[in-house]
Symmetry: C2
Subunit: 309 residues, 2 copies
């Protein structure tokens, strides 16, 4: 935040303002903040309105205040507010509503950029560094390790669930070891379809109004479309290389159903996290992956049990 931004009383004539400001040192001057005698923010005047205005007072040309922050507002809230309201300078008020200063465009740019990288790291399960994602590149190795381990440990524990699914179908694996060959590819495809759905969901959550019902239905249709295409391709490949029609049917069916499940789960989880007040980017973490993996493998093994055995 910078306190060196222009402020003026509402009865100041527009024509006098440039004379009054002249000679002062500002960090940013694209917006004039109109305050009353107690320092309460009444409105803002953008520079273009100031230049265009003739023979009027600031009160006549000013815009209403669309959003303000306090000195302890989170950077991500600040960035979201600036975006939503199209502000290029965000006013900062104290607890009593008095104007303290503003976050200028250059600082907003820096925040947006840091938020971008923090989002990337957060969705990969790296705990944020207090001084931003850039600082973490130079943090001690032990510190960097500490910020990466917790999510991975949680993921490892969560993935025991998928191991349990495998153990549950030991019989199918013992009857025909070729059944195991396709496990990594199935897990990979479920994850890839899910990642796409997560990124679509995170984008949708940034909209003012989300038609969650329509988008979820769309995602299911797209998931089935993807599942049909990839499942068909995979089934053809398995038939061609292994010459086992029933196994190829099981692989195809697992990709078809697993793809649809992954798309829906990948889309719904970030939305659910957002509703619970958590970061939607968490939707791409272990919870999502484990559900997708377990579902895909369960569908696969049930198909295998029905067809192959």
């Amino acid at each position: 935040m910078s306190a060196r931004v222009p402020t003026a009383a509402p009865d100041t004539p527009v024509a006098d303002l440039s004379q009054r400001l002249r000679g002062q040192r500002f960090d940013a001057a694209d917006t004039v903040f109109v305050t009353d005698a107690e320092g309460r923010l009444l409105g803002t005047v953008g520079l273009p309105e100031l230049i265009a205005g003739q023979g009027q007072t600031l009160a006549e040309v000013m815009s209403p205040v669309v959003g303000t922050v306090t000195p302890d507002t989170d950077q991500d809230e600040l960035a979201a507010l600036a975006m939503r309201c199209g502000m290029i300078a965000v006013p900062v008020l104290d607890a009593e509503g008095r104007f303290l200063g503003a976050v200028p465009p250059s600082e907003l740019f820096r925040i947006l950029r840091e938020e971008h990288f923090e989002d990337l790291q957060h969705s990969a399960g790296i705990s944020p560094h207090a001084e931003g994602p850039g600082a973490s590149l130079n943090a001690p190795l032990s510190d960097r390790l500490r910020r990466r381990l917790p999510w991975l440990v949680f993921g490892l524990l969560a993935s025991s669930l998928v191991t349990l699914v495998m153990v549950g179908f030991e019989e199918a694996l013992e009857a025909n070891v070729a059944v195991a060959f396709f496990v990594p590819a199935l897990v990979y495809i479920a994850g890839a379809i899910g990642s796409q759905a997560v990124s679509v969901s995170v984008r949708a959550l940034a909209e003012e109004k989300i038609e969650i019902g329509r988008l979820l239905r769309d995602e299911m249709i797209i998931g089935i479309g993807i599942g049909l295409s990839l499942g068909g391709l995979a089934a053809a490949g398995v038939q061609l290389v292994f010459g086992d029609a029933l196994l190829s049917l099981a692989v195809g069916l697992a990709i078809l159903c697993g793809g649809a499940v992954s798309a829906v789960v990948g889309f719904a989880l970030p939305w659910a996290f957002d509703r619970l007040g958590a970061d939607p980017a968490l939707g791409s973490g272990p919870v999502c992956t484990v559900i997708q993996d377990a579902a895909s493998l369960a569908i696969y093994f049930v198909s295998v049990s029905l067809f192959v055995l």
Copy 2:
């Protein structure tokens, strides 16, 4: 871009400028662009410098031009330039170097935000929509499907490589079917460690100067640290539940070595893509995942063959 931004000749006295601009309509006025008689951009004056300057001409207070774009510059280049040079309004020049207008802060904000979501979708393998990631939410279903399928089909083909690794170790799987139980968890952990390394790499690439040697070495040390922690934990879990010391050793060793490989590959690939002029976000795609999966499983099966069989 907006052409409605203030321009002035270099010999304009600072004191006269506000009078000259008065009454004109601008889209943004935070920067005055100083041009010569042919319309060539000579320098820029930020509003704070203009207000502070007394009795000088624009030529005396203006800053040199640090970066310009042409009307057909890509949005991502534009955003990167604005970031790198700390500009809040980016001048747009024609092929002859004549000033056409500027991209104002509000538009830069919009572009940065779109770039953020485009990055997310790109790294999930969704081809960009010409009108930005927001537009794609309302595109016809067939169009959305078309932009998601290619990367998944490529991923499916690439994952046959991992299937080949499985086929190559058929003997190990046949000798002890429990060996297959840990395949999904190993693949998951390799991917999770790799995703973290990719996000660190993408962040590092945004720095002006990258100490690629040091960061790669750090990543290897962190990868080994993560591998030791998770490998130890997993080995203890396998020993506890399955009571098979050699199998637990193989699982632990696969996570240790696979983790180190995944960290290094996840860090190096985005950097390599960047060097080749491609989007570093591609580093999180199938190429990276398939290398990590294949390496982790190969290490696992070699350990299994050495210890268990």
